[in-house]
Amino acid sequence: MNSTAQMILQAENITKRFGGMTAVNNVSFGLEKNEIAALIGANGAGKTTFFNIITGNYIPEEGTIYYKGQDITRLSPENRVDLGIMRTFQLASTFDNLKVIDNLRLAYYRATHKASLRNLFFSRMDRIVSAKIDECLETFNLTKLADRMTANISLGEKRVLEIAMTMVTDPEVLLLDEPFAGLSEVEIDECLNVLRQQVHKKTILIVEHKISKIQDLVEKVGVMVEGVMIASGETNEVLNCERVRREYWKTAE
């Protein structure tokens, strides 16, 4: 395809079935460099499945995923990290038994070292020191919490920490799976502020089931209904399109 060349991440004709059910049906979606996009749809529309295919959880039955022109469809999640693709999880995923700063250290360590057993064994946790980690703590307002156990911080703080963990690795593509689920309004605003700082610096894809929170943030939207992408393109165009109004608003509201 012609457009593949300019796209940093391109999914083409992806189909994924679970047993008899087709969760994702012939979906194509692409991200340009430093673009911020959203994937929306009701619960069960297949957007998380599609997202998991991009991140490497699942291998699709049909279709290909290209990253900078390279086929990464069958690449393991561990190896996708090397290419600069990072994701977050729907349930805030941090390491509760570690200190906040150690969470960031582990993420940073992997981005700067090969994770061979020899490296892991002979490196010391307290020797992982970097201006990048301090800078991240500062940007994401985590400096006060640095020495706290992650189990003892709030859900909102965990979400911010999770985004910080991806940012400390300096990824090229950032994939966020429902980053606002379960947060209070204040915490959502904090998270949004964090994201706004990254607009046009990184390529970001956000999965959400409600567009309202991120409508002014994203440039591009894909709408999924029952495993099919019914529309994709510029935010305002897509949201005003007749079919999206009829099908998406009906199921989502």
């Binding site: 992997r110 064994f121 002979f122 946790m125 003892n152 911080i153």
Partner: protein
């Protein structure tokens, strides 16, 4: 720096304590406690740091024990070399076995370890009976020469030697659990394995290495057992004693540095004292385990550690604790 001093003072205090206890308690008891604490260390690491509970530890104990035993019976007379052979034998076997067992999760891991233990018992008792003499075992007392520097054939010598080994094992695990990146990733496997994968770490390799380290330490304890008892028989791999290592780990505090030692001390102490009065001394261990678990699931050392940490936090930073504890 402060932490560094703490773990060293801990080891120092234990050293002094055990040295003085030697005057009051029979050395046979202390030797057994020290060797058992080495054995439980590996199990405790697996449970507390990786969240993998193994009910097959006797098998890994047996590989080290038979490694040393077979060497002494058929090949040489030097106990040092025997211990080395035992450790190497268990290392090789663990590297192979780990490749399969580590693929399993939680309860499947527990049960397959137990199954593996049953198979191992059968191999040593029946399949290789020509060489291992099954339940009668290999009697080594006439085949062990006195060794230079520390005489491993004397009770005092083996006590001192296993004690030095135990200190080295503690120092090793202290580094592994509290300092190294590897130790931190182990905790992450317990917490959230999937997240660790998506940070780019190969979790299978991490679990494999942890499995090999923990069980080779068990093998080391097995080799020490052989030299200490001057014999080894198939009963060492008996699956009925599989819960001992797990019970000791949990009693002392899984994943703590001194938990296995405290656990072994209590366990073997109870065994020695109570078995004089009641034939089923395990009943008391069972009760004690339930009480300790209900008191916070952290074991004796774990509960003590968190109590001390709490007191320290109360003393040093009153305000942050009041304003920001708990959260959601």
């Amino acid at each position: 720096m402060k932490r560094f001093i703490n773990s060293w003072t801990g080891i120092f205090i234990v050293f002094i304590l055990l040295y003085f206890l030697k005057g009051f308690l029979p050395p046979a008891f202390l030797t057994e406690v020290v060797i058992f604490s080495i054995y439980a260390m590996g199990c405790s690491f697996l449970i507390g740091r990786l969240g993998l509970t193994s009910f097959g530890q006797p098998a890994f104990l047996a590989f080290g024990a038979y490694g040393a035993g077979v060497y002494l019976y058929y090949f040489g007379t030097n106990s040092y070399v025997a211990i080395l052979v035992g450790v190497l034998a268990s290392l090789v076997i663990n590297m192979l076995v780990g490749t399969f067992l580590v693929r399993l999760n939680s309860s499947y891991f527990t049960l397959c370890n137990q199954a593996f233990c049953v198979v191992t018992f059968f191999i040593f008792q029946k399949a290789l009976v020509k060489w291992t003499f099954g339940d009668n075992g290999l009697l080594l007392i006439s085949r062990m020469d006195p060794t230079p520097v520390i005489d491993l054939t004397s009770p005092r010598g083996i006590y001192l030697f296993s004690f030095i080994i135990a200190i080295l094992v503690w120092l090793f695990f202290n580094y592994l659990m509290k300092k190294s990146v590897f130790g931190a990733t182990c905790l992450c496997v317990k917490d959230n394995e999937e997240k660790l994968r998506f940070l780019g770490y190969k979790t299978f390799n991490i679990k494999w290495l942890a499995f090999v380290i923990a069980n080779t330490v068990a093998g080391l304890a097995g080799a020490l057992y052989t030299v200490y008892f001057c014999m080894v028989n198939a009963n060492i791999a008996n699956v009925s004693s599989a819960s001992e290592a797990v019970a000791i780990s949990m009693l002392g505090g899984a994943g703590t540095l001194f938990g296995p030692l405290v656990g072994s001390f209590i366990f073997i102490g109870l065994k020695d004292i109570v078995s004089r009065f009641i034939s089923h001394w395990e009943v008391l261990v069972g009760f004690l385990l339930i009480v300790v678990m209900l008191a916070g699931e952290k074991g004796i050392v774990g509960s003590l550690e968190s109590y001390l940490a709490k007191r320290k936090a109360k003393k040093s930073m009153m305000q942050p604790a009041l304003t920001k504890e708990g959260g959601l």
